[in-house]
């Protein structure tokens, strides 16, 4: 039953699947406790520093996936532009770290290198303060999502049109960043960070600390997503996904319902981007554009978009497969990923997370062997 999924051994566990009679909250508590155990005790002791920092990266991508699971899996909003919010969070954090590295009154190293600027651009200045930069990593993406969402959902843009629009936003942000090389680092992005709030990022102990922060962040987002999914709002969100017009006739405004999911998902992606920067040490346009935005969605689809842990498992599994396969077959990965997406959409719409239920069903009806 558990051998159905090939995934990173350090991936968080699925909720207990055995048919033991435990209440919902108790199950959740067990799930979160075993997740915490795995992430905070097992993974750090079992993995090398290198593997652990890779895992930190995967978990950041998984945080984006949790948001997509909410917006797409529960709300039906196929958002192909989560890279934008991931990027906004990432750049906000990176700008702060660059300024902190440079010291008060100094230009970040890359600006000094290009030599086009005498003074810090005005929009960089607030990011010198952690009191601005840290909240901004989450609030800025939420603000952008709010503005776009209010416009789009009220005008009843949906389905493929919404997907294309959200993707266009990702393309636009990338074009902007590359065009503004002098102030954004262009294609190179922002990298070469020395410190993270006074801690030396080269020190493995501090890298480990960053991993713990990422793991904690992921558990936090999972708890938030779970609360939302089980709330009345979560029920209404599913209703909007399945019958938007009907919801309208019951006196609800679907635009508002969708907006909340979209904004929350954006905030999650922003936090993920912010933690990605210290964990991986770089943020650049190639990490936030159209292709990575699609990859986020592929991971969620593979894992199973409509259940809590599906997106996390999928994101980690796909990112892990990408790392291991693209080392050996760099050219083939993109095709493989596309193939994976097609296979899942065509044959396993519920994603990997639906395999246990599928296996149970197969076992209950004629006693046959279980696939995969």
């Amino acid at each position: 039953m558990t051998a159905t999924v090939t995934r990173d051994p350090a991936a968080p566990p699925a909720t207990p699947r055995r048919r033991v009679v435990v209440s919902g909250p108790a199950r959740a508590a067990i799930g979160f406790a075993s997740g915490a155990l795995l992430l905070f005790a097992l993974a750090p002791s079992a993995l090398s520093d290198f593997r652990l920092s890779l895992l930190a990266k995967y978990l950041c991508l998984a945080m984006v996936a949790v948001g997509i699971g909410l917006a797409w899996g529960r709300g039906g909003l196929l958002t192909l532009g989560q890279g934008v919010f991931f990027g906004l969070g990432g750049y906000a954090m990176a700008m702060h770290m660059k300024l902190a590295d440079a010291g008060p009154g100094e230009l970040p190293d890359f600006m000094a290198l290009y030599g086009q600027l005498d003074a810090l651009p005005w929009w960089w200045r607030p990011f010198a303060s952690p009191w601005f930069a840290l909240p901004a990593t989450v609030l800025l993406p939420m603000l952008v999502a709010f503005l776009l969402g209010s416009l789009v959902f009220r005008r009843r843009v949906r389905g493929a049109y919404f997907a294309i629009l959200s993707q266009a936003l990702a393309a636009a942000l990338v074009i902007f960043l590359i065009g503004q090389q002098g102030t954004t680092g262009g294609t190179n992005g922002l990298t070469d960070f020395q410190g993270f709030f006074g801690y030396d990022l080269d020190d493995p102990v501090n890298q480990r600390m960053v991993y713990f922060i990422v793991a904690g962040g992921l558990l936090l987002l999972l708890a938030l997503a779970r609360q939302l999914m089980h709330s009345r709002y979560g029920e209404l969100l599913v209703a909007v996904r399945d019958g938007e017009e009907r919801v309208r006739f019951l006196g609800h405004n679907p635009a508002t319902v969708k907006l909340v999911a979209y904004v929350v998902a954006a905030g999650m992606a922003g936090l993920a981007g912010a933690l990605f920067v210290p964990a991986v040490g770089i943020i650049n346009p190639a990490l936030i554009g159209v292709v990575p935005s699609i990859e986020f969605v592929v991971g969620v689809a593979v894992g199973g978009r409509a259940v809590l842990l599906g997106p996390v498992l999928g994101a980690v599994a796909v990112a892990w497969a990408r790392t291991s396969l693209s080392e050996e077959f760099p050219a083939a990965w993109t095709y493989l990923q596309g193939l994976l997406f097609v296979l899942v959409v065509a044959f396993l719409p519920g994603g990997l997370a639906s395999l246990p239920a599928l296996a149970r069903r197969l076992r209950r009806t004629p006693r046959q062997e279980v696939g995969t």
Partner: protein, 244 residues
């Protein structure tokens, strides 16, 4: 209780006039049947009243003019409707369906939390529509007739004053039809009901008043007996207009 007053209602789609100057007054507590051949404009009329299609003229519900308001605002004023095809949320349970219907105007704090108890209105509606034992069943697994009742239950918990039902008994067995009719009679004690129906037996048994629409206009109006005696109605239903 609130009645409905429609004056000069006109709906056109790209030059095709689906509703052509309809005047219609439904008294509070009435059970009004809208009948007429296919294409008479019955459903379009309901669409216009509920804000789904643009219309000119006037639709007054109590003190409110409905035309020009968005769908969810009209719903919050107390106008509820069902559709020809059942449109319950199939992936949600009966209870969840009803709870969502009861939930317009809930605050953010209530929405962010889990439903701990069954709201009183919801449990009453469960009794009324006879689905009390099935509250945790997925709506998609209900039989067709039960889905239609769930729809009516959703309007009850939505606490609407005016129910607009589009072919509520289509596809139902005789027993289910009678039960639905009794349900409508009970509902009309405190609410106004408008029913679009093709089933003439059902209409004869449960209508209090009838309006016959034909080609976007009101052809005849009155009690069941009056309408049946109207030669123009007979012509539309039995003569050449029967197919139109």
């Amino acid at each position: 209780m609130t009645g409905l007053e429609i004056r000069g209602l006109r709906v056109s789609f790209d030059g095709f006039v689906a509703v052509d100057g309809v005047d219609l007054t439904v008294a509070p507590g009435d059970i009004r049947f809208l009948i007429g051949p296919n294409g008479a404009g019955k459903t379009t009329l309901v669409d216009a009243v509920t804000g789904l299609v643009k219309a000119t003229g006037s639709v007054r519900f109590g003190d409110h003019e409905l035309l020009g308001r968005p769908v969810h605002r009209i719903a919050r004023l107390g106008v509820g409707r069902t559709f020809q095809t059942s449109s319950v949320f199939e992936g949600l349970t009966v209870l969840q369906n009803l709870d969502i219907a009861a939930g317009a105007g809930r605050g953010a704090w209530t929405m962010a939390r889990r439903r701990r108890t069954v709201p009183v209105a919801v449990s009453e509606a469960l009794e009324t529509i006879g689905l009390a034992g099935r509250q945790d069943a997925l709506a998609g697994t209900l039989a067709h007739g039960h889905k239609q009742w769930l729809e009516i239950g959703m309007l009850l918990v939505q606490n609407v004053d005016l129910l607009l039902l589009d072919e509520p008994v289509a596809g139902m067995s005789h027993e289910e039809r009678d039960a639905t009719g009794a349900l409508l009679a009970a509902i009309s004690a405190a609410r106004t009901v408008v029913v679009i129906e093709h089933d003439m037996d059902f209409m004869r048994s449960f209508a209090r008043t009838v309006t016959v629409l034909h080609a976007g206009r009101v052809l005849s109006e009155g009690t069941v007996a009056q309408v049946q005696a109207d030669p123009r109605v007979q012509e539309v239903y039995l003569g050449t207009g029967g197919v139109a």
